[in-house]
Each structure stands twice: as structure tokens, then as C-alpha cells.
Amino acid sequence: MRLSKRATAAAATCLAVALVASGCGGDKDSGSGGGGNKNVEVFTWWADGGEKAGLDGLVSQFKTDCSQYTFVNGAVAGGAGANAKQVLASRLQQGDPPDTFQAHAGAELTDYIKAGQIEDLSQEYKDWGLTSAFPKGLIDSLTVNGKIYSVPANIHRANVLWSNTKVLQQAGITAAPTSLPEFFTQLDTLKAKGVATPLALGKDWTQQMLFEAVLISDLGVDKFNGLWNGKTDWAGSDVTTGINDYKKVLSYTNKDRDTFDWTDAEKLVMDGKAAYQLMGDWEAADLDAKGFKDYAYAPFPGNADAYQWLADSFVLPKGAKDAEGTKCWLKTLGSAAGQKAFNTKKGSIPARTDAVPTDYPKYQQSAIADWAKDKAVPSCPHGSACSQGWQGAVNSAQGKFSSDGNVAALQTALAAAAKQFAVTS
């Protein structure tokens, strides 16, 4: 009896020790290959579709250019990058960064820069000739306190108005609208012709995209850019005008917009239930993939000289296991061959100005031409204009506005968000 009691006590002790030990003894080196450490782990949220195809194209170029290194795919799928950002944040905090990771170029990088988590690449820009290969406007946007921290893989345009040409024809509309008043007239015509939803729209961040396009029309490029660096006042009367115009635009959209993702709104256009949709130019690749041909595109009315850009970029994290391997990846990424391999598949355009337009499908050819002549404007929902905290506050405010239409409340919220998050320099 006594023996069995002692045995149970011993067993209990063993269990306790085992549990505590397994709790503390985390295995840090799992994943990395060890040995020569020639692996380059590339962390992205490109797990399927055109994004995956673009990544694959880039990888094959990487295999040629940097044959001494092995590509390791660190993609985390889901939530348009939300999941990946969570995983990344915890890895950076634990001091276990991937060799390079994907991040939106521009203001979204400020969090990492302020945290000292990524390295300055200014010297590499000079060595690789990127300073002259990228347009000056882009270089200016990428530069923070005189330093550049990321290499953009591509450029997307956010302020593109997509349309179903058949629906427009039936309503007798032949040309894309060039100003907001003209746009309203067309929307009225469409409504009169029985198109219940002239303009298709989705939830929070797609609403913010539409709102920003209206603001660009009302404020012009320079004042709009000033909203993000403190030079333009969010509480100003011109912003009020913009919100009122946006409210009017909303009245032409589907009432169940808050239940829609951008692809649901796209389907309304494809089914002919809606005539227009504002969306980024990834829609071209998506429409092509879905086999829909009757579409046309134009800059949002009043946005003709503004190229609202966003870019996926890659960085060199502090403490990367093999900085040379990462640099080889970044060099491939910035090279003409790398940008071509990536962008012809993903449906975006190269950030470099020396791209050969004929290598690209029809939409991208026009985008390449616009990118060369238009003024660059950043986008908040896509991270080129504002930080992640700012995006969150703005999304929430747009969600509220979509349900109550309170102009004053939206303006107060946007001004408060700017006050809380803007980095005035």
C-alpha cells in the first residue's frame, strides 16, 4: 500500500516536471536548414491565384540569378494578408524574422522602420541602379528621412472605374465620365433605364477606396496628398464637400454593400446587375481569369491625372539569417527580368520605367503609359498613405457611415484618426 502511494507520488512528480519542461523548452531552430544556411525564406501572403503565379515566376528567375541559394516558401494564406501580418508580428517580436517579408510600400512600413526591424537599403539602391530605374515620385514616397527600406515588386492602381459595356450600351452611354457631375448624370440615366444598382460596392475598405477617389476629384492631387502628412486639414470645408459628394455616390450603390467583398461587387457587374465598380487594377486579371470580356476601364471621374498607387515590396529584416541571400533575392526582384517575370503573371505593372509594354496584356499596357505620365497619389486602405492603426480607424468609421450616413460624424472621426496616427514631418 505504502509502495503504491509512493509510486503515485513519483508519477505525479514526473508528470509535473514533464509538463513544465515541455512548456519552457521551445525549439527555436525548427525550420531553418542549418549547415551552410543557404536557404532564403520568403514570407508572403501570396498563396494562390495570380499572386501565386507571380511569385512562381519570380522564383524561377531567382533560381537562375542566385543558383547558390535555395528558395523557401514562407507563405501564410488567408484574410488578404491579415493572418500573415499576425504571424509576422510575433516572429519579429521573438527575434526570429524570415529572411525577407512582403509589406505594402509606403506609410505601412513606418511601423517596422520605427521599431528598427528592417535595414536601410539606400546603398544597394545605388549599387543596383534602382535609383534611376524607378520613377522619382515613387522614390520620394519610399524615402523616409533620407533612407530607403524596401524594394517594390510591382505597382497597382487603385482608382480605376470598371464597367460592363453591354449595360452601358443599353443605357446609351458611350464614353466614360470625366467629372463627378457627368458621372452623376450617367448614374441617373442608368437608374432611369432600370439598372437598380448603377454602381456596385463592397464593405469597409472598398468604401474607403471609393471615398478617396471622390476626394481626389474634389481636392485635387496636391491637397489630397497633404491629407496624409498633415498639410491639408481633414476638418476643412473642402473635405465636407467631398463627404457630401461621396454620400450622393453611395445612394447609387447596392444597399447590401456591407455584406459584400469586392469579388461579390464584381459579380454584380459581370451579371449585368450593376454598370460600374471602382476597384484596383487587380480586377483586370480577375475578370480575364473568369472569362468575362465585356468590360471597360477608365480612371475614376476627375482622377485622370492621378495614379493612386500601391505596391508590394520586400525588405531586409534586421537579424536575417543570411543577409547576402536576402540581398540576392531583392536584387532579382528589382531587376528588369525579375519585375517582368513577376508582373506579367500577377496582372500588375513593373515599378521600373524601362519595361517593354508589348510584353504585357492590354490593360497593363495602358497602365504603364499612365504610370509614366500621371502624378503619384498614395492610398490609405492599401498602406501606401497611412499606417495599419490609421487604416483600422478609417475602416471602422466608413462602416459606421455606410449604415447611418452621418456626414459630420465621419468628418470628426477622420480628423481624429489623422490626429492620432499621422506622422507629421
Binding site: 505525479a12 509535473a16 513544465v20 491579415a82 508580428a89 456591407d258 468609421a397 455606410s402
Partner: protein
């Protein structure tokens, strides 16, 4: 020494779970509390002590009163969810208790929804509660349309004021069966002598239930309310799969997640602590009451 012999092995056997609880529950509660009192609003901010500022900011200085809005949403959801589940569960239990044929089958049918995860049922209900009307209608609205009951079509959870009441429907559907099972067990636990005595005294059926059986169910009802109440306050998965994270349906648990996504650790911790306190207000009195009852027995 002999005392140690008596409770020593028991303590040793319990110690693994005690250690794990101490670290992963109570340790982390303390850590979260500390974080909620700090100024760590981004990944790099110093965590210096700022007192209760994060809490007062939540109530007075949040953009669009977002936190108060999320609490209001939670209140609507909780009230509709609890009342709906209690009424439906009690009604089903009452019907089964009256004695129906094939009671086992009905019991299983009512109980089955509970076996589904909130995420799975949320995806289905997302489709059922499609807010499109007329030509765009889907789900329940489409059924109403087909039955020429178009006036019943609803915007469901996208309604600015009462959307959360619609959000409670899937939860009611899912947990009414569980409440039924609890009440049925409660009915079955009432000694037959009580009924017989009431019948001998000439009580009508209504009187039997009103005066004899329902009062006996009070402890069951209390447990049910505690279980439903704390589930409701922590509601996250159902809302995320029906609407995703957005303003109209935001509750504190979703808000915590959104705040964490933007690396505002101090604010997320503060919301979590408020949530913990809310749940504690419900659960602690129940635990005390339970302890007293057990001791008196």
C-alpha cells in the same frame, strides 16, 4: 509528517494542472492587466505605467464612441439570445415532458445543432440572412419572396439599430436544444411524489406547473443563464463568420482582435480586462451561491 502523507500525494497529482493554470490563466491575467495599465500602443512603445488612462479613453475618447457602441451591440445580442433561447428551450422541454411519442428522436433533433461549430453554422446563416431584397434576394428573403410574403423581407444583421438581434438568431437556433436538455433533466429530477401530492390535493395542470414544477426548476434556470450569459459575452466566432469584423456588428471580443491587428497592445489589453470583469460579474456570484448550497448540503 503523517499529515503530509495524507494530503501530499493528492497535491502532487494535482500539481501539474495547478502549475499550468497558474502560468497560463492567472499569470497571463496579471500580465494582461499590467499591459492594460501601460502606454504600449505599438510594437515599439515603451510599456511605461499610465494608470487607468486606457480605460477612461475607451469610454470617453474613442473615435466614434466605438467601444460604447460595441458594448451596446453586445447588450442587444445578449438579451435577445438569452430570452430567445430560454423561451424556446423551456417550451420544447415542456412539450417533451408532457410525453410525446418518439421522444428520443425529437430530443436528438433539437440537440443536434449544438454539435455544429459556430463557424460552420455562421457560414450557413450568412447565406440565409442575405440582406438583398427583391431581385437580389437570397436565403430567407428569397423564400419570403417566393411565398409572396415580400413584406417580411428584412435587412437582417445589416440593420443599423437592431442588426444584433438578427445576429442572435443563429445562436438561439444552436443552443435552444441544449437548454431544452438541461430543463428536461430538471423536470426529470423532480420527485414523482410532488406531482402525486399536488394531484391528490386537486391541483389543475396549470397550477401543477405554476406552483410545483417551475419553482423546482429555478436552480436549472440559473445555471442556464450563467452558461448562456458568459458564452454570449465572449461571442466572436459566430459574428466573424456571419459578418466579418465590421462596425455594425462589432462586439468587444471582435474589437480586441481588430486592435491587436494594428499592434495597439495596451488598448487591446484594456478591452480584454473590461470583458473579463463583465464575465466575472456574472459568474462570481454564481460560484459563491453554488459553494454555499453545496456546503449546506
Amino acid at each position: 509528517m503523517s499529515k503530509l502523507r495524507r494530503w501530499g500525494p493528492g497535491l502532487l497529482l494535482l500539481s501539474p494542472s495547478l502549475v499550468v493554470l497558474a502560468i497560463f490563466v492567472y499569470g497571463l491575467i496579471i500580465w494582461t492587466t499590467k499591459l492594460s495599465l501601460s502606454g504600449k500602443h505599438s510594437a515599439i512603445d515603451e510599456s511605461k505605467f499610465v494608470g487607468l488612462k486606457n480605460f477612461t479613453d475607451l469610454f470617453t475618447n474613442d473615435i466614434n464612441d466605438r467601444f460604447v457602441h460595441s458594448l451596446k451591440n453586445l447588450l442587444i445580442f445578449t438579451v435577445v439570445f438569452m430570452v430567445g433561447t430560454l423561451i424556446l428551450g423551456l417550451f420544447w422541454a415542456f412539450l417533451l415532458e408532457r410525453g410525446v411519442r418518439a421522444e428520443g428522436i425529437f430530443r436528438s433533433i433539437y440537440l443536434f445543432p449544438m454539435a455544429i461549430s459556430f463557424v460552420a453554422s455562421g457560414v450557413v446563416w450568412r447565406w440565409l440572412m442575405n440582406s438583398g431584397t427583391g431581385d437580389q434576394a437570397g436565403g430567407i428573403n428569397a423564400i419570403f419572396g417566393k411565398l409572396h410574403l415580400g413584406f417580411l423581407e428584412s435587412t437582417w444583421w445589416t440593420h443599423p439599430k437592431w442588426g444584433m438581434a438578427a445576429m442572435a438568431m443563429p445562436a438561439i437556433w444552436q443552443l435552444s436544444g441544449y437548454v431544452m436538455a438541461l430543463f428536461l433533466a430538471g423536470f426529470r429530477g423532480i420527485p414523482a411524489e410532488l406531482r402525486e401530492a399536488a394531484l391528490v390535493d386537486g391541483a389543475s395542470t396549470f397550477q401543477l406547473y405554476r406552483r410545483v414544477l417551475f419553482p423546482q426548476l429555478t436552480p436549472t434556470a440559473l445555471s442556464v443563464m450563467i452558461i448562456l450569459g458568459h458564452m454570449s459575452m465572449k461571442m466572436f466566432d459566430l459574428i466573424m463568420s456571419v459578418s466579418g469584423a465590421q462596425w455594425i456588428t462589432e462586439v468587444p471580443a471582435v474589437y480586441v482582435w481588430q486592435t491587436l491587428l494594428t499592434s495597439d497592445y495596451a488598448k487591446a489589453a484594456a478591452i480584454s480586462i473590461v470583458l473579463l470583469l463583465l464575465v466575472a460579474i456574472v459568474i462570481v456570484p454564481y460560484l459563491i451561491y453554488n459553494n454555499r448550497v453545496e456546503r449546506s448540503q
